[in-house]
């Protein structure tokens, strides 16, 4: 689980180690990445909105 989160974070940032990428593609389950990706995407949107609302106040 932690490994999946780290990989999704790396994807957000846009930089990933070749070795980890290979591991993910050999051992990871696609569904886990999709679910974690969606949840973290949502968290990111909520986070940006929260910053914008705080600043605009």
């Amino acid at each position: 689980m932690w490994g999946v989160i780290k990989s999704v974070l790396a994807a957000f940032f846009g930089v990933q180690k070749e070795q980890r990428r290979r591991e993910d593609f050999e051992q990871g389950k696609p569904l886990a990445f999709i679910v974690v990706g969606l949840v973290m995407g949502l968290l990111f949107v909520v986070g940006v909105a929260a910053v914008a609302i705080t600043v605009a106040r």
Binding site: F13, G14, V15, Q16, K17, E18, V55, A56
Partner: protein, 372 residues
């Protein structure tokens, strides 16, 4: 090698001449409001950040090109990835962007804060002039370009403020927060005065807000900044910023003038008076489309001189001026001009340039027509 040095020297000379270019008027104006000064310094900060990035990036690139050139036996490295370097070159731009966003957001917040204004001015864009209304003060007027069309056509020497001069400038006090409520009667215009750093679209059916607080008295000029039709270039903005006392006196004077004008509606006017007044109204409001001597520019703007329908049908003529022509370029002047002005310009167009109908339209008739 020699070319290299020539290029580098060229770049250095270019960089060294930047401050001169900035001082020479190529740059945006610093302006006369707190907001305009903040925008200017943001612009300069971001400009210098860009210069620094450019120098670093191109410096590294040119150094590498020179130092590791093929003729010196350089061999290219061959590797797939370097996570550390990739993280650095992703994080650095991110930090730079966030660093620029912080002061920019602070200024944006100030720009949008239209609360606590001491004066409200409604700005209405029209093809092709501006209308200003001092809300709650009973003062309103139209501001049209005063540059003669002969200068535009090159028949006369161009004046100092060519295309940037108007008959009735917007008058504002200094040191007071003025809120602008902006809309339009026809198409989208944009009210832009660089010295205030105010540039706001005026959109039919919407009211946009903006504000300014001018620090120094003076005359500030601007233009319509949204392509709005044939005479888009002929609807300049002139703002006369006055000391507060002078502004208050001016406002009282304008209000008295408006009251006197309203009283003048009921009396009978002489033809000469109406003709004199009408000529001025025509030059300010009508001439940009129907031209100096009523020749128009068909097919969009019909000629008024010798116009048979106009000569035959005075009621239709007045109706067109009051209500406009729907689906055509002719706007309604019911709310732009007062009864005296409408009567005067109708009388003028019925009797000028060979239209010798002898008809006189009284302000009282117009007021009756307007009340319907």
């Amino acid at each position: 090698m020699r070319t290299m040095f020539v290029w580098m020297a060229g770049c250095l000379i270019g960089l060294a001449s930047l401050p001169a270019a900035i001082a020479s008027g190529w740059n945006m104006p610093v302006g006369v409001t707190e907001i305009s000064r903040e925008i200017y310094s943001l612009h300069m900060i971001i400009f210098w950040i860009c210069v620094a990035i450019g120098v670093v990036v191109f410096g590294v690139m040119f150094y590498s090109l020179f130092k590791f050139r093929h003729s010196r036996g350089a061999k290219s490295a061959n590797f797939h990835e370097n996570t550390t370097v990739e993280v650095i070159w992703t994080a650095v731009p991110l930090l730079i962007l966030v660093g620029m966003a912080v002061p920019a957001t602070a200024t944006l917040k100030k720009m949008y804060d239209t609360s606590d204004a001491e004066l409200d001015v409604m700005i209405v864009g029209q093809q092709f002039r501006w209308r200003y209304e001092y809300l709650g003060e009973d003062v309103a007027f139209t501001s049209s370009m005063s540059t003669p069309m002969a200068q535009v056509r090159g028949e006369e020497e161009k004046g100092e403020h060519y295309l940037l001069e108007v008959d009735n400038p917007l008058v504002l006090p200094i040191n007071r927060k003025v809120r602008f409520l902006m809309t339009s009667d026809d198409v989208i215009h944009s009210w832009w005065v660089p010295d205030f750093a105010v540039k706001q679209d005026t959109i039919p059916g919407f009211i946009n807000e903006n504000w300014t607080r001018i620090d120094e008295p003076g005359i500030y000029r601007g233009q319509c900044a949204e392509l709005c039709g044939m005479n888009h270039g002929f609807m300049p903005i002139v703002v006369h910023a006055m000391e507060e006392d002078d502004f208050d006196a001016w406002l009282v004077e304008r209000r008295e003038e408006a009251e006197q004008e309203a009283m003048g509606v009921d009396r009978d006017w002489e033809m000469d008076e109406l003709m004199e007044r009408g000529e001025g109204v025509y030059a300010s409001v009508c001439a940009s489309c129907h031209q100096d001597v009523g020749q128009g520019s068909p097919p969009v703007f019909p000629a008024l001189a010798g116009n048979q329908q106009l000569l035959d049908d005075p009621a239709w003529h007045l109706d067109v001026i009051i209500n406009g022509v729907s689906g055509a370029a002719m706007p309604a002047f019911r709310s732009t001009l007062n009864p005296v002005e409408i009567a005067a310009v109708t009388t003028w167009t019925r009797n000028a340039w060979g239209n010798d109908t002898g008809d006189v339209v009284q302000p009282a008739e117009v007021a009756e027509e307007l009340a319907q």
